[in-house]
């Protein structure tokens, strides 16, 4: 990491927690875990509360679909860490062929129409937020997405347009495939909230 203090200054209970993670997984905790526990009140706690609610809370989108959206936004933002991390969760829930098809071209990927409409919104909102108009929302409604469903899509986009930038600025180490798969198992089992 470019800011070494993020990886060594934690409260006592978090030092113990991260040590336990290291023992249980047999490898050092991911950089993002170290960062989220650094001055956790500033960013880690409120951020993961938001993320957990959006990615694991009640929604008309399945957990796998929301993780696929996270992967898609991260890929558009060229964030290798987040695309790999959430791609592994999407792979585990929807199958790697779906993830690969969406990243190749969401327009031709085997998706239900409502999910395809969500990707249309995500693409513009991520790359050209000033161009997002009511038409993309109405197109989603036409495919059966509710207003709350659109709100969830918008929040997934906002979350990953935030954390992608932090991940790249701080320069998180990129795990290998096995590391991503191990982290995906934990994210599916435990979710995101750190408090």
């Amino acid at each position: 990491m470019r800011l070494p203090s993020l990886g060594r200054s934690w409260r006592f209970s978090d030092r113990v927690k991260l040590k336990m993670i290291r023992i249980a997984s047999g490898r050092p905790p991911a950089d993002i875990l170290k960062m989220l526990h650094y001055r956790r009140e500033f960013f880690g706690e409120p951020f993961t509360a938001w993320v957990h609610r959006v990615l694991r809370g009640p929604s008309e989108w399945s957990i796998g679909e929301r993780e696929l959206m996270a992967t898609f936004v991260s890929n558009l933002n060229h964030c290798r860490f987040c695309a790999g991390s959430h791609g592994a969760v999407a792979d585990a829930t929807l199958g790697p062929e779906v993830t690969a098809a969406v990243l190749d071209d969401w327009r031709t990927a085997p998706l239900r129409p409502s999910l395809r409409a969500a990707f249309a919104l995500l693409e513009t909102l991520t790359l050209r937020p000033d161009e997002v108009g009511p038409e993309l929302v109405e197109a989603a409604y036409a495919e059966g997405v509710t207003e709350q469903g659109v709100r969830d899509v918008v929040h997934v986009c906002a979350i990953f347009c935030t954390i992608n930038r932090v991940a790249d600025a701080v320069d998180f180490a990129i795990p290998d495939d096995k590391g991503f798969q191990g982290d995906a198992y934990q994210l599916l089992k435990r979710g995101y909230a750190i408090s």
Binding site: F42, W50, P129, G133, E138, V150, R151, V154, R165, D168
Partner: protein
Amino acid sequence: MPLVPDDDDTVPESLFAVLRQAVLDGPGSTPSRVRHVVAHAKLDEVSHELRGYVETMREHAWRSTDEQVRELLAVGWSEDQVYELTVAVALGAGQRRLDAGLAAITRAQQRSGEPAPAVRAVPVQSAAAPAATQAEVTRHAAA
């Protein structure tokens, strides 16, 4: 501007507001006003060495480099301050998408003729006056 239903502090909009409060107005090594300025990418109000970093973070963070962070540390920003500013810029980019998406939902409601649900706006605190903030940014960078 995010819209928050009146009576539920567990909806995503409310959780985002809590995060925003912590990052931009909570305790930190960098003055709150400076965090607001970088979050809103008011590039003409930040010092030169910080301007390039904010611009990179906002538009193409994957191109950020070790050198950019080293330069900030070399001119006097602490690691803690660089971290706070990094998170503030990133959150500003996220909020830009949130605001644009929620505004599109509101416009779709208006076009359909449906009444908008009862909401309240999350107050957005205004940033400092440009001159004062510029001075503050420069002062902290040089401290």
